[in-house]
């Protein structure tokens, strides 16, 4: 059974993975930040068990970072509104556009008061978005579209590298919309391009020989050429000596409808069956089990981590919304010095993200996202609701596990 998770559910009143279920009162911290993180880190510190394991350190870390990074930036909060004025069309039009956009956001499905203008408004919003997140030279370049006959294909995403260097325009935003926008910046070149041309010439095309029917012994020669055969790789399954027989095998079976667990469908039921499935696979696959590294997938990875290390990781991860993405791993490496970069990443992907989905499911969130690195924000807004829901779930779990 997964040591870490089971322990914390039995002993602590809250799970440590997402940190959203907390029965501790919120402390008003010195440096205000997302109340979720603060309350749960306060809760972490308050729990005697957590303290015994030295979880006080993550809290100190956390508060230090928040102080350094966040405070100077809080003054920039109004950037979103301020930026609007710089866009095209003058302030008056933009004020109306902004009002319209807010109305749409507040009630997306309602019929719009002036349906005819919807299309024009939509275009304006897109144009505004482009203007907001591109510099002048980007817009200028796009205007002089490459002449059909002369210029090489237009490269819009090279501008990214330049944008990053001269990082004057975009500050470290603090609001969710800004953080999203900042991440969108990463994807701007993915989201937004003008029509481009396919390149033609020796710098673009592959060399494709003309077709000639291969001579009759060519295939035999091809099969016997070791340089080519090596590209077939190493066969892992069926194992050495066994031949693939496809006629009678059963495959495609899902899980059983019912089981004999005391609490079917509960977290422990699922964990139990997952462990059983892994054991069964180990039996069936033999050597292939290790070759495919099933022993370092999912919660198995957490077995290599102590509880304290996991707590520390969680605390650090919560800093991501305000920290530059690039520095997170450097910071994590520093504070979890015994872990290599690969081990950190492996833990993040196999354990952390998966547990996050688990807690999202518990909170009955409508939008579950295993990949959003900044999902924390959504929880912020629903803090009070989610606390009570998850607390009920938590109590139920505790009762089950104890009885």
């Amino acid at each position: 059974m997964v040591g870490m998770y089971q322990q914390q559910l039995v002993e602590d009143p809250f799970p440590l993975s997402g940190g959203y279920c907390s029965d501790q009162p919120r402390h008003a911290p010195a440096s205000a930040s997302t109340s979720t993180s603060t309350s749960s880190s306060a809760a972490v510190a308050a729990s005697p068990l957590a303290q015994a394991h030295g979880a006080g350190e993550p809290r100190r870390l956390f508060e230090a970072f928040m102080g350094e990074i966040l405070l100077p930036l809080r003054g920039e909060g109004g950037a979103n509104g301020g930026g609007v004025g710089r866009g095209p069309g003058g302030v008056g039009d933009l004020g109306e556009l902004l009002r319209w956009t807010r109305e749409v956001a507040a009630n997306p499905v309602a019929a719009r008061p002036v349906p005819a203008e919807v299309k024009a408004r939509k275009r304006q919003v897109l144009a505004l978005r482009r203007a907001r997140y591109l510099r002048m030279e980007d817009v200028a370049n796009a205007d002089e579209l490459p002449s059909f006959f002369k210029k090489r294909k237009y490269r819009s995403h090279n501008n990214h590298a330049e944008r990053q260097k001269g990082k004057g325009s975009m500050n470290m935003p603090t609001r969710k919309s800004e953080r999203l926008a900042k991440r969108m910046k990463l994807m701007t070149s993915v989201l937004l391009t003008q029509r481009k041309k396919i390149g033609v010439g020796e710098h673009f095309q592959a060399e494709v020989p003309d077709w000639t029917e291969p001579p009759s012994d060519e295939l035999a020669r091809y099969k016997n050429d070791p340089n080519i055969s090596k590209m077939l790789g190493t066969r892992i399954w069926p194992p050495e000596g066994q031949v693939l027989q496809t006629d009678k095998k059963i495959a495609g079976q899902g899980r059983m409808e019912s089981c004999n667990c005391s609490y079917p469908g509960s977290f422990f039921c699922r964990q139990h069956h997952t462990d059983a499935a892994r054991d069964q696979l180990r039996c069936e696959l033999g050597r292939a089990f290790t070759e495919w590294r099933f022993d370092s997938m999912g919660e198995e990875v957490s077995k290599m981590w102590t509880r304290e290390e996991q707590l520390k990781f969680n605390a650090l991860e919560r800093l991501v919304p305000v920290m530059d993405h690039k520095t997170f791993w450097a910071v994590a490496s520093k504070h979890l010095a015994s872990k290599t970069r690969i081990e950190l990443v492996r833990y993040y992907l196999n354990v952390f993200l998966m547990r996050r989905v688990l807690s999202q499911c518990r909170l009955n969130l409508l939008e579950i996202d295993s990949d959003e690195d900044e999902t924390e924000e959504e929880e912020d807004e629903d803090q009070s609701e989610s606390t009570s829901t998850s607390q009920r779930t938590q109590d139920a779990q505790n009762v089950k596990s104890i009885s």
Binding site: M187, K197, F204, V208, I236, G252, W292, D371, D373
Partner: protein, 458 residues
Amino acid sequence: MAASGEGASLASAAGGEDGRRRRVSYFYEPSIGDYYYGQGHPMKPHRIRMAHSLVVHYGLHRLLELSRPYPASDADIRRFHSDDYVAFLASATGNPALLDARAVKRFNVGEDCPVFDGLFPFCQASAGGSIGAAVKLNRGDADITVNWAGGLHHAKKGEASGFCYVNDIVLAILELLKFHRRVLYVDIDVHHGDGVEEAFFTTNRVMTCSFHKYGDFFPGTGHITDVGAGEGKHYALNVPLSDGIDDDTFRDLFQCIIKKVMEVYQPDVVVLQCGADSLAGDRLGCFNLSVKGHADCLRYLRSFNIPMMVLGGGGYTIRNVARCWCYETAVAVGVEPDNKLPYNDYYEYFGPDYNLHIQPRSVENLNSTKDLENIKSMILDHLSKIEHVPSTQFHDRPSDPEAPEQEEEDMDKRPPQRSRLWSGGAYESDTEDPDNMKTETNDLSASSVMKDESNDDS
């Protein structure tokens, strides 16, 4: 639902009728899941590991041959990519201080395509799997080969693009061309398959066919009138779509077009890029396909009984990517797996339902019937310009305005050396081409095919 769809039955060496099992060879590199593009980056090779866990826990491995790929060498990669680009990739490290700033800019590595730890081994594994898959098909050892780590279709000869560094698809196709005269490439990633189209833009030995979102969307190529150039003219097909396309609409369009492509082009082998960002709810995509709808493309192509290579690609909502590629592995083999997922190493990723299949979203399908009819008719018109393959078993021929006999002869004997070697720059307009169809440009001006006009702004 017009389920599997019958393809035209063409005689083939691959064997196996639709519905029956195929010999499927699957490539998986066990370390692939540990490669990491960086915090916040949507591309996560980890999804391939999740898919593999599902495949094995469903027991599909019992019907497959599974191999660990051999990493592609520098020389293998240089068969397409330029020497200095490959040298850069091979030496690039994750330490930003050691990167040459000019090289970074020149090869387009940076934000979208970051230099991460293990970048080159990652590329080697991806390309090695696709090349291995091609060798398998060349040898006739499998009917269908699968490499979910492949399908990185944006990479260009001399630069990275769209999270892709080495274009494993081009390398695989170059290998296939040794024993297959005509290769059909189909791309159902939500993004245009520009890297592959560009590589084969001027040849008729590879026909590239991409279904993608067009308009204010990466990469910006893939307009319906981009049809290829030189000898490759009419051998590039682009099907530009708008947001929200659903299973039925997509299937209808896909089968209509592919059926015609098969008739006219008669490829000897098919390569299918199964980018999963065309699924509903994808983090970067905007289509509304279910896993079933997505897999129907594979199912339909499979029904033609031609050797096929199945590759990965985009896909940024990783639990859905895993679902999709697991299901498509099953479809390749010929198995319909249960909807209730088996317990597996990543089970909690699939909550709260823990099902294999996903529901489309309730979003508007912005592709109107009229738009789709226009697209269909333009595409079919493009296809009618291709000379029919000679010595074919088909007796039906489309009404062909060209002089068919002359072109038939050209195809029979060894084709002449490529007469035009474009030295560079954007290809010139159709007016230069002696085969120019005035009608092409007229069709363009007719009705606006694209819903979203904003791509013309700025």
